[in-house]
Subunit: 222 residues, 2 copies
Amino acid sequence: MVSAEKPAASSGARRGSPGEGLPPTTLVLPGDEPTAAALIAAAVEVMAVHGYHGTSVRDIAAAAGTSPAILYHHFTSKQGLLATMLDRGLDVLIAATEEALDLAGEDPADRLRAVVGAHVRVHLESQRESLLGNSELRSLEPGARALVVAKRDVQQRIFDRVVRDGVRRGVFGADQPDDAARFVSTACTAVAAWYRPGGRLGPDEIVARYEEIALDAVRYGR
Amino acid sequence: MVSAEKPAASSGARRGSPGEGLPPTTLVLPGDEPTAAALIAAAVEVMAVHGYHGTSVRDIAAAAGTSPAILYHHFTSKQGLLATMLDRGLDVLIAATEEALDLAGEDPADRLRAVVGAHVRVHLESQRESLLGNSELRSLEPGARALVVAKRDVQQRIFDRVVRDGVRRGVFGADQPDDAARFVSTACTAVAAWYRPGGRLGPDEIVARYEEIALDAVRYGR
DNA sequence: CCTACCGATCGGTAGG
DNA sequence: CCTACCGATCGGTAGG
């Protein structure tokens, strides 16, 4: 994976020269090689503020410390970048949730705590990316959107299955398991909309409280 | 409310001529007077699909069956239209919620059902406008955004107060009333994101089920 | 003769 | 309240 093409330091140093229109909070240090991952990270930051259509490819490139031309080397289009961003974000969310479930054992309450905890934690730790995943689905062209929506449905079905299992075993008393699962998952998703780092509650406290409220919402032990 | 300004039929006929790029679902019939309200309604429709930055003033004007110039007669800017749209949407939401509370009496469970029912119903009946209220807050300039955020806080405090009252009276068993109130209100807001008219559940059923799940989430009767 | 990029600019369209 | 435009900037691509 080592490339001997050309030292990138000179190019980076040129771009980093002061007095230019670049914002001071460039996300890639001078000398770094601009990768697809760095471009996605930069796009997350700027799109979270102005949205997909409110962000130009030049905004994204500038935030990554590079040029639009490099963006078009790594992605077919601005659309392609958005599609990759949202698709990978959901892969991370689903993987984290399934991993938590694998570790949770058989107890339905532990399993609901696992999926709620994983879902909330991802939405707190990748807050901006999560916000974009919810607000910019409409900006995806139909093909890519269908793919992302399908992955969102996969995550919802994980919640559905955990709640249904708990009801079937008589541990949860929810009258309408799927509605309760939707109620819970959407409340967990919404933490990305109101959470502010440094606020009243930290991520661990939010996770712990949401796990217990979720158990109440499915009538755990009733 | 009758305006004698000018018969709009000829203009409407011109715009409605076939073979043009106009979508067939123009929201204002030829002959209607384009008002600020009609422009907002048209903007809600097109912005709900493409977002604020993805929608041009020409898109809005065309959906309202009028011209960009008329839009700038009724609003100072595209920003001004968005600010008016979101501000009035929250006024409607808060008014509906307070009216429901007034009718609810003293029982904490009835009061929670009232605010949940009103909040959910508004988000179902004004689905697109509600979606924009959540996704396009970031597109508002700081002054207007602060005003809208303050009104959103007013709505959240209504939920907070109802849950706290229920806990104080010993009717709700929530350990963390404000967190439960946030959990519930955000789940109710999210109905605008997943509801599809003609789907499994109608508005009345969703309202009824969400009222009961909300009561579970605050540990009603425990 | 390829890739990975550069500075510059394309054809159209944005808000006003 | 329309036609005709503006300054600028859009997403994307040219030659080298």
